[in-house]
């Protein structure tokens, strides 16, 4: 290309101007190549002036291209006949256009048919022939239109070998900045240029600011876990202590019984809970406490009616995959209750829980639960509401509403709703409540100690924030890694 450009400039210098069509023919170069060179020169400011003109021209059809390459059909037929002749039907099969070629050859008097016994035989009638078509088409291909007679042009157009087209060509003249020396433009500063000072006075190629830069090689954190990190941060900012939740397998005792959830409760069904067959039962439970819990279930006490049923230790020992991290909160509160004198505490956890429920676009068997717990004397429902406002404010949510709800282990229980500006409606964002005395008193917590708690799932706010409809696009091995690659930094306080 560079050579062509230089050549064109030289020619322009000598002749003062040229037009691409004629020049292409003269140089024996394809017209498109010359046009390419002209266009490339146009990039340099005002080196040349190129005026676009239109002219009638001719181009070969596909059939025409084939003829230019292989020869006319009739010529090919002629050359396909061997010394002794050839059976007519065989000749017809020689190539696709043999039939057409045959009739033309016959009418030109090039062939004769011998009929007799057996199949008709075709033989050459003349010694040699001139293919008048192929060379003409070649001239048209080379764009030497003036060397082709109008008669031929019309005939070949009729035979659909050529088409008349409008061709764009250029009339090129010198521009105001004309020069035969094409300066090679530098693309980048180099160390050598700076060292030698050769950068001065050298033109630099323009930079395309509209293209993207080179993407840096980088690693990525998972979108859900970025949200998890934000929530951890929020709790720590509020002075909460992280619970040790690294135990997916839990006993029914800590997961249900200690929370005053009765053994006949439907949630303890195999339908909702994953039971563990190995290890099937837990090995160690705090005996005294277990007895107190059993009493509370069966007969009540501490001002409660209890559930009036036969509580069974065997049922409590059954191991499951925990259905909520509240099981760990129970363990922590029990441990807290053993320390005398009582010291208030604030706990949080964000970890995986397991439900054996029906799976759909927004539900998986495994998901993450966020839980906050405060144990202190004389806490009220008003404190829980205040805490919820403070917590959700850190997520940029300022408008909350509460609805009565039911949990086996909290009373009162409240569903928490926030106003979603985008969806223009109130959506449920969490659950909360005050732990029942039946749960706290057997642990040995003082009677005036009240424990407020709230929880939400980690997946739901993440899916709402990133506009993800199917949870499998976020969690698990079916995730499209592009989602992880492209995920922005997590800022919960902005929308």
């Amino acid at each position: 290309m560079a050579e062509l450009k230089e050549r064109l400039l030289q020619i322009l210098d000598e002749k003062g101007s040229f037009d691409t069509l004629t020049l292409a023919a003269e140089l024996g170069v394809f017209h498109q190549k010359v046009v390419g060179g002209v266009k490339s020169l146009q990039i340099e400011e005002n080196v040349i002036n190129a005026e676009a003109l239109s002219k009638k021209g001719w181009e070969l059809t596909d059939e025409g291209k084939e003829v230019a390459k292989e020869g006319s059909h009739e010529a090919r037929v002629f050359h396909a006949i061997p010394e002794g002749g050839i059976a007519q039907d065989e000749l017809m099969k020689a190539f696709a256009t043999a039939k057409i070629g045959f009739s033309k050859a016959m009418s030109s008097g090039w062939l004769e048919i011998k009929k007799g016994e057996g199949k008709p035989l075709v033989r050459r009638k003349v010694e040699s022939i001139d293919d008048t078509v192929q060379p003409v088409l070649k001239r048209i291909e080379a764009m030497s239109f003036d060397e082709v007679s109008d008669k031929d042009k019309q005939e070949f157009k009729k035979r659909k070998l050529i088409n008349e087209v409008a061709m764009t060509y250029y009339h090129v003249t010198k521009g105001s900045n004309f020069t035969t020396q094409l300066n090679k433009q530098e693309t980048d500063l180099t160390a050598e240029m700076i060292a030698s000072g050769s950068w001065k006075g050298v033109p630099f190629k323009g930079y395309n600011f509209n293209a993207l830069g080179a993407p840096p090689p980088c690693g990525h954190l998972h979108p859900l876990l970025k949200v998890r990190a934000e929530f951890r941060q929020i709790f720590l900012e509020m002075g909460f202590t992280e619970m040790h939740t690294n135990n997916y397998i839990e006993s029914s005792f800590w997961n249900f019984d200690a929370l005053f959830q009765p053994q006949q409760h439907p949630a303890r069904d195999a339908h909702d809970t994953f039971f563990v067959s190995e290890p099937a039962n837990c090995l160690v439970l705090p005996d005294d406490y277990v007895k107190k819990v059993g009493e509370m279930h069966s007969h009540g006490g501490h001002g409660s009616q209890g559930y009036s049923y036969d509580w069974k230790l065997d049922e409590a020992k059954k191991n499951i995959l925990r259905t909520h991290t509240t099981a760990v909160s129970a363990r922590m509160l029990y441990r807290l209750a053993q320390e005398k004198p009582f010291k208030p505490a604030k706990y949080f956890s964000i970890d995986r829980v397991f439900r054996n429920e029906a799976l759909d676009a927004t539900h998986l068997a495994e998901f993450h639960q966020i839980e906050g717990v405060i144990a202190d004397r004389n806490l009220t429902l008003g404190h829980l509401i205040g805490m919820l406002y403070a917590f959700f404010k850190k997520l940029g949510i300022h408008k909350l509403r509460f609805k009565p709800a039911y949990n086996p282990y909290t009373e009162p229980s409240m569903e928490v709703f926030s106003y979603h500006e985008g969806l223009k409606k109130w959506v449920e964002i969490g659950n909360s409540g005050v732990f029942r005395p039946e749960m706290l008193l057997p642990m040995g917590l003082p009677e005036d100690v009240r424990v407020i708690a709230w929880g939400l799932s980690l997946e739901r706010p993440t899916m709402i924030k990133y506009g993800i409809d199917n949870i499998r696009e976020l969690v698990g091995h079916k995730i499209n890694l592009k989602v992880v690659y492209d995920n922005p930094i997590c800022r919960l306080e902005t929308d």
Binding site: F274, L283, P344, P412
Partner: protein
Amino acid sequence: MHVKDSTKSIRPFVVSAVLRNVTFSPASYASFIDLQEKLHQNVCRKRSLVAIGTHDLDTIEGPFVYEARPPEQIRFAPLNQTREMTATELMKFYEVDSHLRSYLPLIRDSPVYPVISDRNGVVLSLPPIINGNHSKISLSTKNVLIECTATDRNKATIVLDTMVTMFSQHCADPFTVEAVDVVEVDGSVSQCPELRSRMETVSAKAANSHVGIEESAERIASLLTRMSLSAELQADGDSIRVSVPPTRADVLHACDVYEDVAIAFGFNSIAKKIPETNCIGEQFVLNKLTDKLRLELAMAGFTEVLTFALCSEDDVSVKLRKPLQSAARIANPKTCDFQVARTTLLPGLLKTVSSNKNMAMPLQLFEVADVVLLDSGEDVGARNDRRLAALFYGKTAGFEVIHGILDRVMQVLAIPTQRYRVVATEDSTYFHGRCADVVVDGRKVAILGVLHPDVVTHFDLAAPCSYLELYVQALA
């Protein structure tokens, strides 16, 4: 209703009541049926604890008998059928019924099935499966017999109380119910429904203190009455005697009453306060370390994934060319995806690669998460173990890349190269000659290597792969 001894082995309890001169409308009729279904699903724990039967009293004649007979000896036309069948035939008949077949196991294997019949031997019902067609109720039924058979007497009482309190308003004499005498096996007679109500005394001060409001005792009493908990302020100006009706079996403790106070007051009207609890927060050290390691892996150019803790048995054994090592097993998996809890992070990472085969290679993935191991030293018999896994999948195996990650992790944990040894080892999951244990202070803290080609193909992949799994808790 006479109870026979034979029921003891299968379904010992029954309670019953009558609603007289009822007028059903299509809406109340539908609601009546609906209530039974709802109760069956919840309190009755899918009919296993209590089963409700309702009958047109005018089609049958008391006294009634509740007993348990061998299935062949029970014969009647069930609800909406004209043909009479024995209980054995009924068991087969309802096997194809999508709704009823889940209840069949409750009595199927017992030598005797529970059955209620009237003085003429007409079968009312085969609890907990189906009622008889003879006594079925319709829109025109005037007198309703309700019977609840149960394995839990307390629940049966609550269920019956709920049924009658909710529908007695449709009786000609509203809110009246006719009692039924239940003659127990030992001859004692009890009357149902019990319509238990009890008195609970709460303190207005305590109510205020729990809810976080400051209302007068009179106001609190009136709030409760509005919630259908009839409340009377006592002479001392603080105690409130609350009458808990049979419809409120959920009121077990004063806190249930406080909730009603709060609801009547309005949750959204309670003034919010920030608890004054002063605590200094603390991170769980293992989680703190985990988050820092995750950052380091991302900074090293690896991409984080989050995979499932549950998987199939094969995922952690056959597919990894190893026998199944002590893994925690799920008793009731719905599919093979939930058979065991993972003992290594490898299958999850390989499955992620498998779902992203069209992504540019090499794929460099990591995960820092828990696996589950059996451990009889733990109170539940198992524990979680935090692992760090890094995987390289590309046109070449990239073992040196994974080895480089190991070195980097050691570096950021301030473990100098002299302190950790990379010892060549053989492990069936890995390619021969390309596997090593990492040992620190005589303890194995990690394993790394090029995965065996069979492992790669087992996960539907076709390019070489290197892997590192580090035991975070051994290095914490």
